[in-house]
Symmetry: C2
Subunit: 159 residues, 2 copies
């Protein structure tokens, strides 16, 4: 989905909900859609702050909440610390592989795993509503330099 389209979807959601399309919301949404990684509220704030010094972190949090309600953003909690937000396009569900050394996040999907999850749930008498699968480890590059590492997550990018 193109950025323009997403921006439009967001505006529609606002109108439908009787909310207003403000300068701040436009700017924050635009900055969010321009991202192609996972980004924290703080990091997104820094980006829009560069464009318009008057925007507050609080508004970023509030706008991200709206984006979630509009179905345009997903909030993820990897390890501890701040949440990261990613685009929630119409794409299928996916899971994440996170490098514990450099913080790189790779998305993947695997139907076989999903099927097995359903099977497990059925055996336990549960109906799955949603799930969370996160693989933590070392990416090729970080395995190569083998500089030890602490095992703690250090996100280099957006965090």
């Amino acid at each position: 989905m193109a950025m323009q389209k997403k921006q439009q979807n967001f505006r529609q959601h606002l109108v439908r909900s009787g909310l207003k399309a403000t300068r701040q919301r436009e700017l924050i949404a635009r900055a969010f859609f321009a991202t192609n990684t996972h980004i924290s509220a703080e990091a997104l704030y820094r980006r829009v702050s560069g464009r318009d010094r008057r925007i507050g972190l609080v508004t970023v949090y509030r706008t991200l909440k709206l984006l979630k309600e509009a179905g345009l953003a997903h909030e993820r909690q990897f390890g501890e610390g701040r949440a990261l937000f990613e685009h929630a396009s119409s794409e299928r569900h996916h899971d994440h592989m996170i490098c514990t050394h450099c913080g790189k996040i790779v998305e993947f999907e695997n139907c076989e795993i999903e099927a097995l999850q359903e099977e497990v749930a059925r055996k336990l008498g549960f109906t799955i509503q949603y799930h969370k699968l996160e693989l933590y480890g070392r990416c090729k590059e970080c395995r190569a330099d083998a500089s030890g590492g602490t095992g703690r997550i250090r996100v280099v990018g957006a965090r």
Copy 2:
């Protein structure tokens, strides 16, 4: 592993690390090992508090950290809010299925899923260090009463 044995393991870990076996640590560890569900620091604190009013929540947190270091406890973060701690026996790794309505937590293990995870990681050029798989949904009982529910997690037990 019997409770007595775990208690002993903990004492050994303390000695090995040049730490002291205090009244508080003994009591907190005993209360933790007596648990057979997932318990929060707060809930564990309430339990030991009943036995000895003088013990502080801070000491519970510090002792849980020691138990983790001793390899006797695992810290889990389900949904948001406080962390839950579980026994880290010599048992194999397991994952969790959590009822979003009553908070029930069921453990399971599935080698096929684990194998597929390894395969995915290999294809992505990663080496897995650890993973987190959580299935959220409704248990049989909570599906039966079908009282709507908010989708938010409400843990009835220890939380």
